[in-house]
């Protein structure tokens, strides 16, 4: 278990617990009562810490190295029925964006999402979940196929942003994202988008236009990362905590401002402390929303999508 800096007290208690267990096994003295007590203490501490996370701490949890990524969600939600499909049919297969068919309790779904690497080598190959234009174009190709066969779409968003590389610019990163926004608005099938980690900027939004946009409890979604925001507005990297607060990037803030449609609770201590429970919650949320959305006509869904995003923004009219 990797502990975040604010989890120091838990880490200390955890060390104590391990020592205690070691002593218990060596001395053959029954220390089970103390072990249980300490375990309870640890749990209480986690509850305490996580009941009061700052926005920056949420950002940290969203990036926890043991946090589950898109393919793990898809595998569990689809009960391992997932068949991955590759390529944008033009340039390449972008490993930072994955997608394909899967079943949720008998319902065929097109799954799409940014994928971060699970080890050093894969992190490079998957460009830390930063998709190239061909990634967005693959996503669109799969979404149009889902529409053709009248299957709903579920996207998992987890990206520090679209890849800012030279070739990405040559191949029209801006156009690729823009096209997705335009096309997703008009998709005739239900679309559910779930932010499972980082939702940074246009790179996240590029697969983020849905009938229901949901955020897991310990994720963030904004126009820029707190670090970059700090460096631009404060002209220093040292104001990331303040930037995280100012950006109002937490699920709670995003919901309060009407920019997302719901929050999915995580297990105490974050998704990585109990991935199975998280997957199950996410699965139930998807089923619930797909069921609700299936009762509305395609035309009505599209109109509601346009109305929802069309209403976002706060302006005043001067007299």
């Amino acid at each position: 278990m990797v502990f975040l800096d604010f989890e120091k007290p838990v880490e200390e208690l955890n060390k104590e617990l391990e020592k205690l267990k070691e002593v218990a096994s060596k001395s053959k003295v029954d220390l089970s009562k103390s072990v249980t007590e300490l375990e309870e203490k640890i749990q209480d501490k986690i509850v305490e810490l996580y009941s009061n996370l700052t926005p920056w701490q949420r950002v940290q949890v969203s990036r926890h190295p043991e946090r589950p990524y898109t393919l793990a969600y898809i595998d569990h939600v689809s009960n391992k029925s997932f068949i991955e499909l590759h390529g944008d049919r033009t340039v390449a297969d972008d490993k930072a964006m994955v997608g394909g068919w899967g079943e949720i309790d008998g319902q065929t779904v097109m799954f799409i999402g940014q994928q971060k690497g699970i080890n050093t080598k894969m992190r490079q190959i998957r460009r830390f979940g930063m998709a190239n234009p061909e990634g967005y174009r693959k996503a669109l190709r799969l979404m149009k196929m889902a529409e053709k066969f009248n299957k709903p779409i579920v996207t998992f968003i987890d990206t520090p942003g679209a890849y800012p590389g030279l070739e990405a610019e040559e191949r029209g990163q801006g156009e690729a994202i823009a096209k997705n926004l335009l096309e997703m608005v008009q998709l005739k099938v239900p679309v559910i988008c779930i932010i499972i980690g980082e939702g940074a900027s246009g790179g996240a939004l590029g697969i983020g236009i849905g009938d229901k946009v949901l955020m897991l409890e310990n994720t963030w979604y904004s126009v820029i990362s707190p670090e970059s925001c700090s460096s631009i507005l404060w002209r220093s990297w040292n104001f990331k905590e303040r930037a995280a607060e100012a950006l109002k990037l937490t699920a709670e803030d995003m919901s309060k401002h009407g920019l997302i449609d719901g929050i999915i609770k995580e297990p105490v201590g974050g998704a990585h402390r109990d991935p199975q429970a998280t997957f199950e919650t996410v699965k139930q949320e998807i089923k619930k929303h797909l069921n609700d959305l299936s009762k509305i006509s395609a035309e009505e869904r599209i109109n509601q999508r346009i109305e929802k995003f069309g209403a976002m923004g706060v302006v005043h009219e001067l007299d």
Partner: protein
């Protein structure tokens, strides 16, 4: 403004030495340094008579260049931004807005108007870089959205002139969602088969490029404009070496297939008029 200027310096042609010397009688080109009378420069649509450098201009100048006899009706001119996040960095967003309004004489980074272009009806949404770096906030999105409603109602084609550093950070996710909002409205315009021409000018980057700027039925650009998604500084940091010459210029973007045409500002009105006429007949 300061933060944006700083970001821009050293990336494109420096505009810091641009001056209208004395009392606006002379124009010194920041690119070739030649001097022309302000009158000649103005008559040439603010394009350098020697080197074709396109000076950054605002909605006032574009409206004058595009609309017949500079006659137009402004739409939704009284919209100003709210501050839903009560955003504060080194300064309160509300103070930033007040200062920008006072300094620029504008209410936000986009103005919308309708009028005639060589006798053809057109709605023009034009961004103003002079207002917080032409950044896209709620007012920019709302004016585009309402202008599209107007276009649909009156069956009038739309031109959006982009000139922007991208998102307005002080509106955070609200700014991000303007990408979704404008794209949603443009999809409605498309469903109604009303032409949309996007004009990309220097600079067009970030969320503006990744939404309406790249969604024209026809995407046209002014020569030499910086056009990209990621800023050149960020790309340079990513690849860890210097950027090739001409990277992210309009000419580069045309060559890679994302623009229909580069149109010098001196020919803009004529080309717009012809396109609109052809689409109508």
């Amino acid at each position: 403004m300061g933060w944006f200027k700083r970001l821009k310096e050293g990336i494109t042609t420096s505009t810091t030495d641009k001056k209208e010397t004395p009392e606006g009688l002379w124009y010194k080109c920041p690119s070739c340094k030649k001097i022309h009378t302000a009158q000649d420069h103005h008559a040439n649509k603010h394009v350098c008579l020697d080197c074709n450098y396109h000076e950054r201009i605002g909605s006032k100048e574009y409206f004058e260049i595009i609309f017949d006899n500079n006659q137009f009706t402004e739409l939704h001119e009284n919209l100003v931004s709210g501050d839903p996040l009560e955003f504060e960095d080194t300064k309160k967003y509300t103070s930033r807005l007040t200062e920008s309004i006072k300094k620029s004489g504008l209410k936000d980074a986009l103005r919308s108007a309708y009028g005639k272009v060589n006798d053809q009806d057109l709605v023009v949404c034009c961004m103003d870089f002079g207002f917080i770096g032409g950044s896209m906030g709620s007012v920019v999105g709302e004016k585009i959205a309402r202008s599209i409603d107007f276009c649909i109602k009156t069956k009038t084609p739309l031109l959006i002139i982009s000139k922007s550093g991208g998102a307005r950070m002080m509106e955070a996710a609200f700014s991000l969602m303007q990408m979704a909002k404008t794209s949603a409205k443009l999809s409605q315009l498309a469903q109604n088969k009303i032409p949309y021409i996007s004009l990309l000018t220097d600079p067009t980057t970030g969320g503006v490029t990744a939404s309406y700027a790249m969604l024209g039925d026809m995407n046209i650009a002014e020569p030499g404009s910086l056009i990209g998604f990621a800023g050149p500084r960020v790309v340079k940091e990513t690849i860890g070496k210097d950027l090739p010459k001409g990277f992210q210029t309009a000419e580069f973007v045309l060559e890679h297939g994302f623009l229909d045409k580069i149109v010098p500002r001196t020919e803009l009105k004529e080309k717009l008029g012809s396109l609109l006429k052809m689409l109508k007949n």
